[in-house]
Symmetry: C2
Subunit: 384 residues, 2 copies
Amino acid sequence: MKRALLASLRRSPAAPCLLSKRYVSAFGYTQAKALVYSRYGQPKDVLSLHSHSIAPAYNDEITVKFLASPINPADINQIEGVYPSKPPFTTALGTPEPCAVGGNEGVVEVVAVGAKVPDFKPGDRAIMRSVGFGTWRTHASAKSSHLLKIPDDKAITPIQAATISVNPCTAYRMLKDFTPLERGDWFIQNGANSGVGRSAIQFGRLWGLKSVNVIRDRDNADELKKELEALGADVVVTESELADRDRMQEVKRLAGKKGMKLGLNCVGGKATTDLLRQLGHGGHLVTYGGMSRQPITVPTSLFIFKDLHLHGFWVSVWSDKHPEEKQAMVEEIFGYITSGEFKDTPVQETVWTPTTKVDVLKEAVARSGQAFGGKKQVFIFKEE
Amino acid sequence: MKRALLASLRRSPAAPCLLSKRYVSAFGYTQAKALVYSRYGQPKDVLSLHSHSIAPAYNDEITVKFLASPINPADINQIEGVYPSKPPFTTALGTPEPCAVGGNEGVVEVVAVGAKVPDFKPGDRAIMRSVGFGTWRTHASAKSSHLLKIPDDKAITPIQAATISVNPCTAYRMLKDFTPLERGDWFIQNGANSGVGRSAIQFGRLWGLKSVNVIRDRDNADELKKELEALGADVVVTESELADRDRMQEVKRLAGKKGMKLGLNCVGGKATTDLLRQLGHGGHLVTYGGMSRQPITVPTSLFIFKDLHLHGFWVSVWSDKHPEEKQAMVEEIFGYITSGEFKDTPVQETVWTPTTKVDVLKEAVARSGQAFGGKKQVFIFKEE
C-alpha cells in the first residue's frame, strides 16, 4: 500500500516537492547488479560484479530491467582500452572508484517511469539508442533519450531484439550506403558466417541481390555452406577455394561484365586482397572488422586501373549521427523478423540471475574474446 | 604551281572524284619518321625507327608535325605490354608487320588540312585529345577528333603544351574531384618533386590550399625543399622526417582539429602508410602511381575508426569520359601559364631531327624508364 501511495503521489504534478529522494529511499528501491571495470585491462582481470540500489523512477527517469545483452568483440576491446569509443568512468552506481559498466547492446523492459516520461510505460521493451550505456547489468535507471522502443510483438524474442543494433544494422547500411545496388547485382563478403555476414546474406535475398560468401577453411565447411545457402547465400566458398586460380576465375565470371560492385570485409590480410581481386571496375570495398589482425594490402594497380574505392564502416558513429534513420531501419528489420523472413544468428546463452557468480559471467566474456571462435555470447537475464 | 593547283582542285566540292590518291602521290608527300614497336618488350629491344610518307591532307585529314612529345612512365609500361591501355597494332604506316607508335602526350602544329576540316588551319597548335594516338613521331595524319586546339599564344612553349595533359591535369582533378576543399584546408602528398607533385603545389597556392609535401631522402634535400617552397609548398619533409614520431605529430597538428582532408599518393609501401596516418577523420587518399612498386598497406582501424576513404585516379580514362571538362580545364591551366602563375616541371630535352639516329631516341626512352631518377624526358622536334 505504501508503494501505491508513493506511486500516486509521484504521478501527481504537485508531488515532486513533497518527495525527497531521502524519503523514497526507505522502500521501492530496485536491487541491481552490474559488471563494472574501473581500469582498462583483460576482462578477467578488471571486471567485477557490483551490487547497488536504484531509487524509484522520479521525474524523467525510467527504471528498466535488462532482458538480454550480447557480448560483442568491440565490448572486449573497450574494456582493454584499445577501442576509440570509451564510456566515462563515474561513481554514479556508488562504486568506491569511478567505473564504467561493460556492454553496449541490449534489450530492456520498462519497470517504472517517473511523472515526466510521456513516451514509455511499464512493460514497453526498448533497445539502446546509442553505444556507451553499459548493458551488462540486471537493471538501470535510464532516460527516454537512451532508449528506442521496439514493436509490442511477442514474436520478437529478447535475443533478436538484443542483437539487432550492431550486426543486422551494420549489414543493412553497408549494402545501402556505399554504392547503388540493383536487383540482380552481386556482392561478395568474407566472414560470411558472422552475425553481420548472415544478416547480409538475408538482406541480399530479401532485396534481390546475389551474394558470394567466403568462409574460413574448416572441417565442417560443407555443413556450413548448406546452412548459409539455406539463409539465401547464392555461392559459398572457403578462403583457399577463392585463392585457387581456376575457382577465382569461375567466381569472377558469376557477375558477368558488370563485375561485383561491392565487397564487405571483416578479415584483413591475404583473404581481403583475394576478395578485392573479385571486385569489378569501379567496385567498392567496405571494411567493418579485422579479425585476422592483419592490415589490408592493396596493389596500386587496383586503385588506378580498376578504380576501386575502399571505405570503412562503424555502426556506433552512424547510429549517433542518424537517430531517425536508425529507428526506421530497426522497424524495417523487426518487420522481417516478425514475418519470419529474417533468421537469428546462432548464439550461446549465459543465464544471469540474482545469484549468478561473477566467474560464470566472466567466462562468457572470455568465450566471446576468442577470435574466430564459436558462437556469439549473450547474457539472458532471469529473475530467479 | 602544281601544289597550288592541286590545293584549289582539292578544295573544290567537285574535286574529290577527280583526284585519286594515286594521282597526288606523285608530289606533296610528307616524309615522316616514327618510333614504332610490333611486339611488347623492353623499349631498347622492341623500338625501331620507321620512315614513311604521308599523303597530302585530303577531305577530313589533317597533316600535323610534332613540336614536342614527352616520355611518360606509362608510355614505357605500354611498350612493355603491362599497361592496361594498349593501342591497336596496324599496318597503316606501311610497316612490314602491324605496329603501334610509342608515346601518348604531345603538341603538334597543323601543316595542312583537307577540304572538310572546318575547325583547324595551318599554323594552329593542338594537343592530343586522348591517349593512344602515338606521339613519338615527326609527323602524322590526324582527324579533328584527335586534336584539342590550344590558345594562339606564343607565351605557351611547346614543352608546356606537350606536358599539360598528364601531370597538371592529374593534379588538378585529384584536388577537385574527391573531397570538397575550402581555402585554408590542408592536403598532403608524396612524390612532391614529380610533375604531378609540382603541379599540385602550384594549384594549391593558386586556390588558397595548404600543402605538406613529402620527398624521398636525398643528398640535396634542403635545396629541393627551397625549390618546392618557391613554387608555393607550405611544408616540405623527407620520408624519414615524416616517419619520426615527433615530426609526425608536429605535421599532424598543422591542420588543426579538421585534420588533413586529402592525400595524394604515387609511392606505395611504408611511405604511403605514413601518409595515411596524417589524414584527419573522414579523409581521402587518392593513388595515381606506385613508384616503389610496393602495395599500399592500411591498418583496418584507419578504415573503421578514422573513416578514411581510398581511391585511385587515372587521367586517361577521365579524359576520355569528360572531353568538354578537359578542354575547359586545359584552357584554365594555359591561363595560369600565360599569366606566369604556373611554372614548368624541369625536363631534359632530346632533339629529334630528320637525321637523328634511333639510338639517341632510345637512350632518352631508357632514361625515362629509370624509376625515381632524374628529370622528365621530352623529345623536341626540329626540322634540321
